[in-house]
Symmetry: C2
Subunit: 247 residues, 2 copies
């Protein structure tokens, strides 16, 4: 199974001004492709932090996705940082220039807009159907924009470039008990079903406390077996629960 | 100025099932306390990943905040991981036991619930006014729960333990122009105001494209000067804009 990491370049996330939406967008798309997202880092818009993040993650995971910092303004430094991480130079890409001219018109492609045609030398472009300025891929690193609406529109192109892995089968059970009321039984079920991961997530909804139990694994029948063991336990405890559709 | 990092322990975040809410909660609280959040990592519920994350971040930043993985179930392994990171053992804390007994009643404190009284040896407790099970602090690492409602209730206790730093002054301007229409002027303003950080964030709202310009710095008058330069530029361009209240 292929592994992945995300590097979010985002002062505005770390300052608390903006709540990140890109992690979940990418996470869902990767899960559907059978790629296992194992880490995400959010770093400030600082040269050293971005370079270090790119290099640490690209050495540890099969794929790395960066989001943010590829626009036309002075604070968009991701392309320079990825180039430095790879020891390569930044180059204006002729096809990217062509796309920007087509989108803005030849007279409106100013210096700032041409900044968005600069990629790491040797990179391949990632199509942007919303606002023309492309992302790019260099080796195992995919450089993507930070605006969620644009990122989302580019994801098809990105994800289809990855080989399809075995999707993770997943089922969940919502039960109106506290985690601590089912923890021991759940631990026994996990021990008896070592090929799946059972996650337990407490929640409060309408002033009631409950727990979501999520079972994941590559073998759907093993997931179903573990879910059956959980529902048997809950029935024996006369607990109120719902078996959710696969998530 | 003190620096901070967050370590989110969260399979459910990386799988895309849940959208993280804790980063923004902590980020806002830290910003208000004058602490600079410089990095956040989201790692899977794996022993090695959590230990490595704790050790990397506690060596690099003044404070580290972990969220998630301190409940009563088998997948709650954060306490063991933090202990391993510090080379310490895990110990049942008598005061934590007392709080759990007070909350659940002596007869209902089962083995699973007692798991929530286990902390890294030598840690100090962090009060949980919602559901009794405490967090804890060991040196510069604060170990906190993953449920946002409970985390939020515990934040006062956590944040008040930190010395008050100089808050970051911040103002923002929303303009109905694309980034690429103001990039050059904005870059000149950033160069002329080196003591502040000017961030530029494009957005789409009601089918219109605009840009949020956020100016941050420790000196409020320097922030105001840069904002004045920006609004002068926008007036000269006859652009539609609003000066937002401080964020």
């Amino acid at each position: 199974m292929k592994t992945a990491a995300i590097l979010i370049i985002g002062n505005e996330i770390l300052s608390g001004r903006t709540r990140d939406a890109n992690l979940q967008l990418l996470a869902k798309a990767l899960a559907a492709r059978g790629v296992r997202l194992l880490e995400t880092r959010v770093v400030a818009d600082r040269f050293e932090a971005i370079v270090a993040g790119v290099n640490a993650l690209r050495a540890s995971y099969d794929y790395v996705f960066t989001t943010g910092g590829i626009g036309p303004t002075h604070d968009d430094i991701t392309t320079e940082c990825v180039a430095a991480a790879f020891g390569r130079r930044v180059a204006e890409d002729p096809e990217a220039v062509r796309r920007l001219i087509e989108y803005y018109g030849a007279n409106a492609v100013n210096e700032a807009r041409l900044r968005m045609a600069r990629v790491v030398a040797g990179a391949s472009l990632i199509d942007n159907p919303v606002s023309a300025a492309p992302g790019f891929r260099i080796e195992n690193v995919f450089v993507l924009p930070g605006v969620p609406r644009i990122l989302e529109a580019m994801l098809d192109d990105v994800i289809s470039a990855l080989p399809q892995g075995a999707p993770i089968a997943s089922m969940s059970v919502t039960v109106w008990l506290r985690e601590s009321e089912i923890a021991t039984g759940l631990s026994n079920i996990q021990d008896a079903h070592p090929t799946v991961d059972i996650g337990s997530y407490p929640f409060a909804r309408e002033e009631r406390l409950g727990t979501s139990l999520v079972v994941r694994g590559t073998a759907p029948e093993a997931v179903a077996d573990a879910v059956n063991a959980i529902t048997d336990m809950l029935r024996a405890a006369e607990a109120e629960f719902t078996l959710d559709t696969p998530v």
